[in-house]
């Protein structure tokens, strides 16, 4: 759901597909464009300018006389820059390769073979996406840190050498691969599903074996999808902050994102240099995303039909159970083990133990950590803040996203393509860079936003617009324009029609966008890390902060608490919409 919506960048606006809206709706387009410009474009501009200034941001003062290349020269003169850029790129490359291979294997197994439980695998593959990278990093730190990691201790007590070490480029790449594989899975599975099976059948009739037919026919046609998957995941992994921040620090591996944070977080703050690094990151991601869009545009020539003819799955025969076992191992690594570790640590008296017996010692069971954490005022405050941020993002964001999606998909108003473009722009903007841009902007424009919770809400609304607008657009596109037109001819005004016809029919998309926004709001850290104060710190920031302070037990309890909250949100969301799922012509 998340990644699939990320890939569709071109909007399918065709001649008569749109509903009649009077031309005076034009001011709505300008209004929406104005809002998006302020929340998305302006911060980026100010950030870029800031990276060429010698002074940090000050209220209402941009001192252009200090225009300089010094920030860039400084970062490139620093010999460590090349080192951490190298680490960042290496880990991103390895992680992308791993994620694509795992994702492709999972997609091929569930879409084309008789692997056991293929339906169930198809459903639960998105589970890892619900585990925020920050949580994954904490859990794996508990599992596989060199000295105290649970897996290493287990290995030692079994007489094996403790070999796991995640504090390395390889270790970080491993986490990248297993947690970003679901994104690859979703996109590749969708491509395989939409692929016209008659092409493969034709190759089979010409005498090619099933595997050979797949390789010859599907391979070349699916290559653009694969390449765009690779680019997208690479962008995610360039900008990701949570995993390298948690696992890179002990091994002294400051990735690009971590380095930006360090430049601002450690005294004295070097905002101008951080901005130069931010712009560097921005240049990389924007370039890659534009390559990806270009690839997807080209892909429309490939023959993919909507027909989903049933296809006989390829028999794996003696490989069937080993393949199923491999899938099981994957889910064990990605979901089961991490949660097991988090639960063990949450409910123990002493989180350190040195043998297998120590791990299962019942006298060690305790609710102390849970009680301490739940009664901690900082935890309570940040949970409250996160809930406020999530709900505000949903309410304000959804109205804005719905308006944008409606204008883009349902009208012929001028400027709608520009609107679509600006709404999709944050796809290419790393969270860190948005955070930095907001830092500059709202310090420079002192209207009482910086330092409040609203600066975080506005940043999130900008950051999440691509996914949410896509999700709502997808359900609006499915509403046949004549459903709306007939309501108009039947005497319903524009707003009446919107309320009685469009809104109820679009509700599945709106609901899934709302759930997505809540999940994103909780998992996001890289944006908030530049925008919080002690009064407005959100849950993810508090978790990270506690981890830095080494209160590991509380962090484990908090991750479980967050999982419970998110699970409740998803279940309630599904329940609310459960009854009204209707076929829309």
């Amino acid at each position: 759901m998340i990644a699939a919506s990320k890939t569709k960048v071109a909007s399918p606006a065709k001649g008569r597909g749109q509903t009649f809206v009077p031309q005076r709706g034009a001011f709505v387009v300008y209004g929406l464009l104005g809002i998006l410009s302020v929340i998305t474009v302006l911060p980026m501009l100010i950030l870029v300018i800031g990276s060429f200034l010698s002074t940090p941001p000050r209220a209402l003062r941009i001192d252009f006389s200090g225009l300089t290349l010094k920030n860039y020269l400084t970062i490139f003169a620093d010999p460590t820059t090349i080192a951490f850029l190298g680490d960042t790129l290496t880990a991103a490359c390895l992680g992308t390769a791993g994620a694509t291979v795992i994702g492709f294997a999972l997609a091929w197994l569930t879409e084309r073979t008789d692997v056991p439980l293929r339906r169930a695998i198809d459903k639960i593959t998105i589970l890892p996406m619900l585990i925020p990278p920050l949580v994954a990093a904490f859990a794996w730190d508990l599992l596989a840190s060199p000295r105290t990691g649970i897996l290493n201790i287990l290995a030692k007590s079994l007489g094996l050498p403790a070999i796991l070490n995640l504090y390395t480029v390889g270790g970080i790449s491993f986490l990248f691969a297993i947690y970003y594989a679901p994104y690859a899975f979703l996109m590749i599975a969708a491509a395989l599903r939409n692929f016209d099976p008659s092409l493969e059948e034709a190759a089979a009739i010409c005498g090619a074996s099933r595997l050979r037919a797949f390789a010859i026919v599907v391979g070349p046609l699916i290559a653009p999808t694969l390449l765009s998957v690779v680019l997208l995941i690479f962008v995610f992994l360039i900008e990701i902050f949570a995993i390298p921040a948690v696992l890179g620090e002990p091994g002294n591996l400051p990735f690009l994102s971590v380095r930006i944070w360090e430049l601002i977080g450690f005294a004295p703050p070097r905002i101008n240099e951080a901005s130069a690094l931010g712009v560097l990151m921005l240049v990389i991601t924007v370039t890659l995303i534009f390559c990806q869009i270009f690839l997807l545009r080209r892909r429309s020539f490939v023959t993919i039909t909507g027909k989903s003819t049933r296809r006989e799955p390829i028999g794996l025969r003696s490989w069937r159970w080993p393949a199923g076992f491999a899938v099981l191992i994957y889910f064990l690594l990605v979901v089961a083990l991490p949660y097991l570790a988090l639960i063990i640590v949450s409910f123990r008296n002493n989180i350190f133990f040195f043998s297998l017996a120590g791990l299962f010692d019942p006298s060690q069971f305790s609710l102390t950590q849970v009680e301490t954490t739940l009664s901690d005022p900082v935890v309570a405050l940040s949970l409250k803040n996160s809930l406020i941020v999530a709900i505000s993002t949903v309410i304000i964001g959804t109205s804005l996203y719905f308006s944008i999606a409606y204008v883009v998909t349902k009208t012929r108003l001028r400027g709608r393509r520009a609107l679509d473009f600006v709404a999709m722009l944050p796809l290419a903007l790393p969270g860190m860079v948005i955070g930095l841009g907001y830092l500059w902007t709202w310090i420079s424009v002192p209207i009482g936003v910086y330092g409040t919770i609203w600066v975080i809400v506005i940043a999130y609304i900008s950051q999440f617009s691509p996914q949410a607008v896509r999700s709502i657009s997808a359900s609006l596109v499915q509403i046949h324009p004549e459903l709306e037109e007939s309501a108009r001819v039947c005497g319903g005004g524009f707003l009446y029609t919107l309320r009685r016809v469009v809104a109820p029919l679009a509700s599945p998309g709106v609901r899934s966008a709302a759930i997505l926004l809540i999940i994103f709001s909780f998992r996001e850290i890289s944006t908030a890390i530049f925008l919080y104060t002690s009064d407005t710190q959100v849950f993810s920031v508090t978790m990270f902060d506690y981890w830095v302070q080494q209160t590991t037990g509380s962090v484990a309890v908090m991750t479980l608490l967050q999982s419970v909250v998110l699970l409740a949100v998803i279940l309630i969301g599904e329940r609310i919409g459960g009854g009204s799922r209707v076929a829309v012509r």
Binding site: G15, F20, P22, H480, E482, L483, E485, S486, A487, R488, V489, C490, G491, G492, G493, Y496, R500, V501, P504, L505, S580, V582, A583, V584, R585
Partner: protein, 367 residues
Amino acid sequence: MGSNCRIDSVVKSYAGKRIVDEVSLDVKPGEFLVILGPSGCGKTTTLRMVAGLEMPDAGSISIGDQTVSDPARGIFVRPERRELGMVFQSYAIWPHMSVAENVAFPLRARRRLKGAPLRQRVEEVLNMVGLDGLGARSPTALSGGQMQRVVLARAIVYDPQLLLFDEPLSNLDLKMREHLRIELKALQARTGLTSIYVTHDQTEAVELADRIAVMEKGRIVQLGPASEIYHRPASRFVAEFISSANIFPARVASLDGPASARVSTELGRELTAACESDVVPGDIVDVVIHPEECRLSLPGEQIAAGMPVRVTQARFQGVSVRYTVSWGEEPFDVVVLGSGLQLRAGDEAQLTIAPGGARILTAAIAP
């Protein structure tokens, strides 16, 4: 009784191309007017401009005594204020509402009725279209024919000034289409609603229409009662579109009388054809002959003016047999009712054309 509708020199362009090019129509109160044409001829766009779903670039449209569209005077009445009923090609039934809620929508949206009178009116209209007792159903559970009736009920529930139909039967199977055609005509006659009906199906047009407007490339090329358009097509396009007539070019040899000429083709066809416009000997004209206005007989029979032909193909079509014969080295279609005459490919036969069955096409467009 419905209102009249006047469409006056309406123009609509997309991307610099004129989709609707100076279309004028005057629909009388209670009339059933069909706009017939191939896809892309601008017929649906014309209808949508009447509905207010498209804005014309020029020209004016009035319904009853109200001008609803006139860009030159800055007039544009939104669709919801036009008091219309419209039947869409896709049905456009709202899947999240019950059948009764769908039908009640126009009354609710206009705040015409509520409570018991509203329920009563909905019930009454559902009875009228033969859906009694199905009000509480979800429309997604209905058959295609039933959906079409829901749409009809929704269109007529508040006595609109004008009923618009956009290829409403094109999604149905043949049997259901025939059935609904008859019902539709009866319903329209009963309610007396002025109707404009857009279709590309000539059978539908001929059966439903009081008058047919044939459109080609954004223009109306002929307007008149169905029988007139069928028998006296104004152009080759109309003749080809409305029927599967034989049309071939010929040279006028001589004039037989005020409305009749002797024509011949290069390959040796010679016949007498009716003509309305002035032709002079030597003109090259198109001759149209409907296949059902011809007869085939066996070679031995004594037939006046029988022309020798050879059967090249015989296609059994149920109530009739359609023969293609070679007449003057060129194919010519003849439809013979029943299957009494049993000719096969290769057989010799005699062809006769009913008096008045051949007609010279006039180039001029009928008013």
